[in-house]
């Protein structure tokens, strides 16, 4: 008797309420998933960009320590750069200073792509003959 009264009072509203609840949960969890996805992706982008800068800096430091820039010969520098750069990255290295080769500006490496993640850095260097020059480098992931 009590059960019948209960059903007659609420009818099939329980079913609708349950559906409403499920729909609300689906919406909430979808929103949460989207947020978590973007939040995670943002952190990944930051770290990968920083990693890219670190790799670029390390490559330039290594080439500078090996005195690979001292010849100011773009072919020699290009060979040294190709030997050292990891396969999944591309780089453009620009040397600027008071040297005769290339009227004081030498560029070695790939062409900077558009609409890609590129990081850059700058260093000061000195050759064995005490010629001062700045090294500007750009690094980006190579298209697979």
């Amino acid at each position: 008797m009590k059960m019948r009264n209960y059903l007659s009072r609420f009818g099939n509203k329980g079913f609708v309420l349950t559906l409403d609840l499920i729909l609300a949960m689906v919406v909430v969890f979808t929103v949460l998933a989207v947020i978590l996805f973007f939040v995670g992706r943002g952190s990944e982008v930051t770290l990968s960009e920083h990693q890219l800068t670190l790799i670029g800096s390390d490559i330039i430091t290594l080439l500078d320590q090996k005195k690979s820039f001292d010849s100011f010969d773009s072919t020699e520098i290009s060979i040294a750069l190709t030997e050292i750069i990891p396969a999944q990255y591309e780089m453009l290295v620009r040397l600027q200073g008071d040297f005769t080769e290339g009227n004081g500006t030498i560029e070695v490496g790939g062409e900077i792509p558009s609409q890609r993640l590129i990081t850059a850095g700058q260093r000061l260097a000195m050759s064995d003959t005490n010629t001062l020059f700045t090294i500007t480098y750009f690094i980006w992931p190579r298209l697979q």
């Binding site: 930051t46 700058q122 064995d128 001062l132």
Partner: protein
């Protein structure tokens, strides 16, 4: 019926508030990620500039002067010509200063270095000044951590006279070693308080003076190669020798200023 409507309105408001909070959280995080990206990029830029300028300064110092510095766990050895010229180094530092200040937000304060011509030896937060002025004087400032000095002179001519006048009874070790063919001047005292040693090479005097405070000064007009080892009491860390040329990096947009010095060894 009325209370049910209120319940739904409240529920919906709560739901919208939750969504709004999440949206705010998301935007805050996005802006934080962006500023972190800028900060990380800036950090790397500062590191690159700072390290490379200091490295170039040290290379310039080593390639244009006769200085050679080697630090060990309880000693520092500085080799140099006693009449050290800084002219080439000074010109090169001016070029480094011009390029650095034009290319980076950097200030290279080298004026004091060239007027005082000093190296700073830092051990356990004690600073010992090694100065080499224009008038042919090498001076090592007194410091309680200094246990002794060992000087080697490589004479370019015969030693004509060697006159030690050392007062013993102190705690300082002092040794001098100079040999040219058959002539020599070799001393080793383990407990010096103060004193002088006059060494004559080809009618040019090299005068060593140890003061009671423990300061050592070498005065000469002789252009001789020398090697001076400063021994310290037991140290926890290897001492560092640096050029007192402050490399100041300024970045007004980050209200950031970094001052550091090139470390020779």
């Amino acid at each position: 019926m009325k209370s049910k409507g209120m319940f739904y309105t409240l529920g919906l408001t709560l739901f919208v508030l939750v969504l709004l909070s999440l949206a705010i959280l998301f935007f805050q995080h996005a802006s934080q990620v962006e500023s972190r990206q800028i900060e990380l990029g800036f950090t790397q830029k500062v590191y690159d500039v700072d390290q490379s300028v200091k490295s170039v300064l040290v290379d310039a110092f080593q390639s244009t002067t006769t200085f050679s510095v080697a630090a060990a766990t309880n000693s520092v050895t500085i080799s140099q010509n006693l009449l050290q010229s800084y002219a080439t180094f000074q010109n090169l530092v001016q070029d480094i200063k011009n390029i650095s200040e034009n290319s980076f937000n950097l200030d290279l304060q080298s004026a004091d270095f060239f007027s005082n011509r000093r190296l700073v030896i830092n051990n356990n937060n004690n600073s010992i000044i090694y100065s080499n002025n224009n008038s042919g004087e090498v001076l090592i400032s007194a410091n309680p951590t200094i246990a002794g000095y060992a000087v080697t002179i490589l004479p370019s001519a015969a030693i004509t006279s060697c006159q030690p006048n050392l007062v013993t009874g102190g705690a300082l070790n002092f040794s001098l070693w100079a040999v040219f063919q058959a002539s020599n001047c070799m001393l080793s005292e383990a407990s010096v308080t103060s004193g002088t040693v006059d060494l004559w090479i080809n009618s040019k005097l090299i005068s060593f003076v140890i003061s009671e405070s423990g300061q050592l000064s070498i005065n000469t007009s002789a252009s001789e190669e020398s090697s001076l080892t400063i021994f310290f009491d037991e140290l926890q860390q290897k001492p560092k020798v640096f050029l007192p040329i402050p490399v100041v990096i300024n970045e007004p947009s980050f209200t950031f200023t970094k001052t550091s010095y090139p470390v020779v060894d």
